[in-house]
Symmetry: C2
Subunit: 267 residues, 2 copies
């Protein structure tokens, strides 16, 4: 089911700026028994991303109600898109506020139902560094599309991306955490990448547990030298990378700890 | 009038990848008496951009027919968008070819009817360098939106952009050409920016006339030191920049020469 501005609909205006320019933001989240998971964090991130792009974020209660309307009875995924709405031709921001909000549901993907270890690969595409858009889950995702198009082996679940300075940023659709010598690290996302809600929850939860995730610049060698490599997002939770191209790891025990932390205060 | 896959329609599928990821390309072109201007160049650029993104470009004759169908009787603007179509959730390319083609018309903007000199400004946003997307007129245009949002003074027609290395790239919606000591220069677009059809036509026409546009790295000082600064695109033609923030220029005579070259073999 899809709601466009609160009404059941299958389509959006052909003049929508979300289509014309990718002028908008989105969220993908899990739903369970018709309710959004981690709603407070999801809405906070949506509101922050809207603010970064000078978009008017819809009211929280309204949006939550719409997510519940589209959500499946069992487990599923909901997607929210907020665009700057239909406007005249041209890049200038339209006068007045007429955002488009799209809320739709999809079945929980198969890979989210069987939480196995992940096989990953390095992507050759390098992410461009744009601090004005870094961290935001906006609708300009051609880099992700091109990176994901680098492989079609269904055994490979995710690709790892570096920026054009050589620093590791994360997965095409996930954030990266590594464990090394008792410490946890996650790439800095001040130049590119998406700062996902699962990563934010882990930052908060592990801080509380006294094993903080340290944010910093990580090079590929640091990933290869890690005791455990993990990828996370709102749909798959935290997953251990068992293989990265020709490198394999045996479990070091961090993935279950981080998954516990991720789910500890379900909102 | 808007055609979606050849049929009159006002909307596109809410699951279209053009909306979800900006996964597509577009063209904006002038129409005169119901016919597209510079069609051969416009279609060649569309096809090249499609190929760069692994999109199936629609047949040329089909697309031209659709542009003529939507075009106004007098002067106007047509816009073509080609997206990767509606697909399942996720970045992976959908199996099979099911692009969406959207062809729509708009009135010729007022500024294109009165070819006055241009007042421009420097934008503070720096374009990120992504060679995989450089030159392509794709649907990921948030940088242009943010740059255009830096001013709302209607007297300012265009903003000039540098990349994050400090090189000048061009205008938010136009390409840049400068004249200095009898030579013509235009920024290299191998790292970012859109290589527009007007620029391509000028490169070809001025080569033929023996005053080639030299492509290279231009710094802001070179713009300020130019004899004449010009901006071009398919809708406005070539326009002289009379003022750039506090700097003004008097005409050096190049703008009419380049406009003649731009229109010399109307296709």
């Amino acid at each position: 089911m899809t709601l466009v501005n609160g009404h059941p609909a299958e389509s959006v205006d052909a003049l929508d700026r979300g289509l014309a320019y990718g002028d908008g933001v989105f969220r993908t989240l899990r739903t369970e028994a018709g309710q959004p998971l981690w709603w407070r964090d999801q809405y906070a991130k949506l509101a922050a991303d809207c603010e970064a792009l000078m978009l008017a974020c819809p009211d929280e209660a309204l949006l939550r109600t719409e997510v519940c309307r589209v959500a499946a009875a069992g487990e599923g995924v909901a997607k929210i898109m907020i665009t700057r709405g239909a406007g005249a031709r041209g890049y200038a921001l339209p006068v007045g506020e007429a955002c488009t909000r799209i809320v739709l549901s999809a079945p929980l993907p198969e890979h989210a139902q069987a939480p196995a270890d992940i096989t990953a690969r390095w992507c050759t595409l390098r992410l461009a560094r744009q601090p004005r858009l870094a961290g935001i889950k906006h609708l300009n995702r051609l880099e992700n599309v091109l990176a994901r198009a680098e492989w079609d082996d269904p055994a490979i679940f995710e690709g790892l991306l570096c920026d054009d300075s050589g620093a590791v940023v994360g997965g095409v659709m996930s954030n990266l955490v590594i464990a090394k010598a008792g410490e946890l690290f996650t790439p800095d996302l001040g130049q590119c990448g998406v700062a996902g809600v699962a990563r934010t929850r882990l930052l908060r939860a592990m801080e509380r547990r006294g094993i903080p995730l340290r944010i910093g610049r990580l090079l590929p060698d640091a990933i290869l030298a890690a005791d455990e490599v993990m990828l996370c997002n709102s749909v798959i939770g935290v997953r251990r990378v068992g293989r990265l191209d020709d490198v394999t790891w045996t479990p070091a025990g961090w993935t279950p700890i981080l998954n516990d932390a991720l789910y500890e205060d379900v909102d």
